[in-house]
Symmetry: C2
Subunit: 226 residues, 2 copies
């Protein structure tokens, strides 16, 4: 339910290591999400380190938006280094881009998560105009999941109806970007992606546990699970 | 005029090193472009290695398409490691994304090159619908350059008129992707981005020189320079 975004620096004073953050949070985390800043700082080997020290899935979030051949090469390196899933943009379209990526990801056993919208205001300018088309593309490609922002919950509600139950919704934008823990789950998301609220706090363990409790509570309250 | 895309593997049998490719091509290359595959394989230090062994500018092409804070952190790492320019997508919009990136890039002395369209067919699905708006965004942000595909030359011709002379046009899609060397220059581009045609050939030196000659010839013939 909780996906922890590992974007350095970690700790209130930037003084915690990746390993410390993982140790303090893995008991309540479903998957760790790794972006460019961490991989540039620590090298691609950090993917396997996070995977092995946490025992959790690792989602590599470079928000890929390249031609098919370049993404194919990129994800084959990521898969060899232990990635379980990759995040890619939907707006690049299918022919010569997503088709190549999805085919290759199936061979590699990688889950594909497609960005349909983003948390910042600028995302309404071009992305949200094509919300329905981008969602339809996801359904046609039948990938593992989508990214939708907790900062615009109406998009999650609409998407849940279109996607049915099998395609997972991952939702960033909680904490520093403004949304409350549990709010995206309430609206229909499967996972909330949370980073700085936890990783830059004084006590990541306590904050992560508090977030997880709020998510469980939201799940019970809004989704009718016991 | 020639920007060489360093996407491994290099050489006809994948047996050449980055350093060999640079040695064989730097006399005709304006800048080297480095993408995710090379940085994942060799680490972020490869940026400075390419810069120092070539004496040329290095453009880091991750096709960034993130929220502002993540891109800010990413480009500060790239600048510390010797990058001269970064390539970023325009469709993410300005507020909370490109505005943050452009402001930070100015502090860091990094050139920003914005992707307006791409070479693959899927790019016509969402990107090209917003061609004029994406170009206007570039003019408003007043960045160093744009990326436009040599596979759809009419876009370059139109863009040259809108952008005037000061914003540079970088054009990929030549060689393996189908366009002829010199064709984008003829249409109004300042630089042609070429990769595999040169880097995966039997003799990168000879092919690079041949490409460069074709570009010079196109420049004289189509753009009226002596």
């Amino acid at each position: 339910m909780l996906v922890l975004a590992l974007d350095p620096p970690f700790g209130l004073k930037g003084d915690k290591s990746t390993r410390e953050i993982i140790e303090e949070t893995k008991h309540v985390v479903s998957a760790y999400k790794i972006g460019l800043p961490l991989v540039l700082k620590e090298g691609v080997g950090v993917i396997r380190e996070v995977k092995e020290s946490s025992g959790r899935r690792v989602i590599v979030d470079f928000k890929l938006a390249e031609i098919g051949d370049v993404m194919k090469e990129t994800i084959s390196i990521l898969a060899r280094n232990g990635a379980d899933a990759v995040i890619v943009h939907g707006f690049i379209g299918v022919e010569g881009a997503l088709d190549v990526l999805v085919e290759e990801s199936r061979k590699l056993g990688l889950d594909v998560i497609i960005v349909v919208s983003m948390t910042h205001k600028g995302a309404t300018r071009f992305l949200d105009i094509h919300f329905e088309e981008l969602l339809k593309q996801v359904v046609d490609l039948n990938v593992h999941g989508v990214v939708l922002p907790a900062t615009r919950l109406h998009l999650i509600k609409k998407a849940r109806g279109v996607l049915g139950g099998s395609i997972k919704i991952y939702s960033p934008g909680i904490g520093v970007q403004g949304a409350e823990p549990g709010s995206a789950i309430c609206a229909g998301a499967d996972y909330e992606i949370i980073g700085r609220l936890i990783t830059r706090s004084e006590n990541p363990r306590v904050v992560a546990e508090r977030v997880y409790s709020a998510q469980l509570e939201a799940w019970r309250r809004c989704r009718g699970y016991q």
